[in-house]
């Protein structure tokens, strides 16, 4: 009998505090999520690709030569970053239960593989350009771009002439990108507990 009472009280307490708790933790969660998305959008890779065909190589991944948008070979007018942002936006928190040790919630954060799935290389769709930023991208896209740039069906538009020697080879330098952001924010989200929730 005592056990049943205890269980019932717990359920009522959980119900009573859940609403208030949700607000508090969601505020903290949303702050971290916003910070994570801000970091994604302010990353040099994101900024350079977002500008598109006219960007300079501000990320220095190509030694300041050309830009990532044309190097990867995206179609002019497309927004390759949108797909990543959409995945980041899917990060959510769900209250699960209240235990003797406190509340338990689940946070759903995209895995790097989720990002690879939505970032196909324009010239080889099984590959991910976002993963390639971290592991290396060959100059095939750049070659195709150069090959087609004088034709109306150019991926990135005929008007775009990146200052380059057409025959020269552009070397790509890998940098930390999606995996690094996600792994750091996975840690931040996991540290989200009662001590960090403003009351």
């Amino acid at each position: 009998m005592a056990f049943q009472l205890d269980k019932s009280v717990k359920r009522q307490v959980a119900q009573l505090i859940k609403e208030d708790f949700d607000k508090k933790i969601e505020r903290s969660f949303n702050n971290i999520k916003a910070e994570m998305i801000r970091e994604l959008m302010n990353h040099e890779i994101t900024k350079e690709i977002s500008i598109g065909v006219g960007a300079s190589n501000s990320s220095n991944t190509l030694g300041g030569y050309g830009n990532l948008f044309t190097f990867i070979g995206f179609e002019a007018g497309t927004s390759p970053i949108d797909a990543i942002k959409r995945e980041f936006d899917k990060t959510v928190i769900r209250f699960r239960t209240l235990t003797d040790d406190g509340p338990i919630w689940n946070i759903y954060l995209p895995a790097p593989e989720d990002i690879w799935d939505v970032t196909p290389m324009p010239w080889a769709e099984g590959r991910s350009w976002a993963k390639g930023i971290e592991t290396g991208i060959s100059g095939v896209g750049w070659y195709l771009y150069n090959q087609k740039k004088n034709y109306p069906q150019s991926r990135s538009g005929p008007a775009i002439q990146v200052k380059s020697k057409s025959s020269s080879k552009v070397r790509f330098k890998n940098v930390k990108y999606i995996s690094d952001i996600l792994s750091r924010y996975e840690k931040k989200f996991s540290e989200l507990d009662e001590t960090t929730i403003p009351t």
Binding site: M121, P122, W123, A124, E125, G126, R127, T135, G136, S138, G139, V140, W142, Y143, L144, K169
Partner: protein
């Protein structure tokens, strides 16, 4: 410099890839034909060179149905491999001493549908700069294929990168090696076949072999005949296990005419191979 881990991985991978393509994909054809005499300045003058119309003979006797030649017929008399007759399985030819240039040299062999090359070139160099010849699908009289030149259909294996990540206490790391393959074919059917075959190898394992275990000599002959690839599943041993953690296949969305008569279809197979090891031990 003595061989390092990455040398072992690259060698093991190339041998496994070749075996898998031949045995599971049955990517070879049996041929009989004449070998034609020609001069090759790279070969010692003591040898006479007789080349077939094909390159890259199958040298793995564990491939069911494949003919791995142990010699050739010289004027209708079988002449086995020896110090006086070197089989060059890579260039599809024999090097002989004591045989007249006018001799009638014939033989039976299996030729790979896809030549396999280990390459140090970047994939853009392979795609952009190289000009390949086509392996002769039908034997033509009076012709041999030039040695050394790369021919398509082919798979170029590029050892890309290696990374160690701490895995457990005591210094055990997860070593992740990336192997990239660039596939060139002259028709989309073959390209789809290779990509499909290797897409299905994810989560398979193969055996790590020593760099020195590569079965061919500098002349392209077998160090020891016959050579049978030792398949991991026939003789499992976790201490020499290389695990294919991930495979990604894709086709290049651009069909190029490389020369007037060869249209090339290109695909990529990217492998992530892991092994748990003690690199600092």
């Amino acid at each position: 410099m003595k061989p390092q881990y990455q040398h072992n991985v690259a060698t093991s991978f190339a041998l496994w890839f070749d075996h898998h393509l031949l045995s599971e994909g049955e990517a070879f054809s049996n041929q009989t034909g004449k070998f034609y005499n020609y001069e090759d300045p790279r070969i010692p003058t003591s040898y006479k060179v007789f080349g077939s119309s094909h390159k890259q003979f199958v040298f793995d006797s564990s491939v069911s149905g494949a003919i791995v030649p142990s010699g050739v017929f010289v004027n209708s008399v079988f002449k086995p491999r020896s110090s006086a007759l070197v089989m060059d399985y890579v260039n599809g030819r024999v090097l002989t001493t004591g045989v007249a240039a006018t001799a009638n040299v014939t033989g039976a062999y299996s030729v790979k549908d896809f030549s396999i090359y280990m390459s140090n070139e970047d994939e853009e160099d392979l795609i952009i700069e190289n000009n390949f010849e086509e392996n002769l699908k039908f034997t033509r009289s009076g012709t041999y294929i030039q040695p050394y030149d790369e021919i398509i259909p082919a798979v170029f294996i590029v050892s890309d990168s290696i990374k160690n990540k701490p895995f457990s206490f005591g210094g055990e790391d997860e070593t992740r090696s990336n192997m990239k393959c660039v596939v060139f074919t002259d028709n989309p059917y073959d390209l789809d076949g290779v990509l499909s075959l290797f897409a299905d190898t994810q989560k398979k394992v193969f055996t790590e072999k020593d760099f020195g275990d590569y079965p061919l000599t500098e002349y392209g002959d077998l160090k020891s005949y016959p050579y049978n690839y030792s398949d991991y599943y026939a003789n499992p041993n976790p201490s020499v296990e290389l695990f294919i953690d991930d495979v990604t296949v894709s086709k290049l969305k651009d069909t190029r005419s490389r020369s007037s008569n060869v249209k090339t279809y290109i695909g990529f197979i990217d492998f992530e191979i892991t092994q748990y090891r003690y690199p600092r031990a």
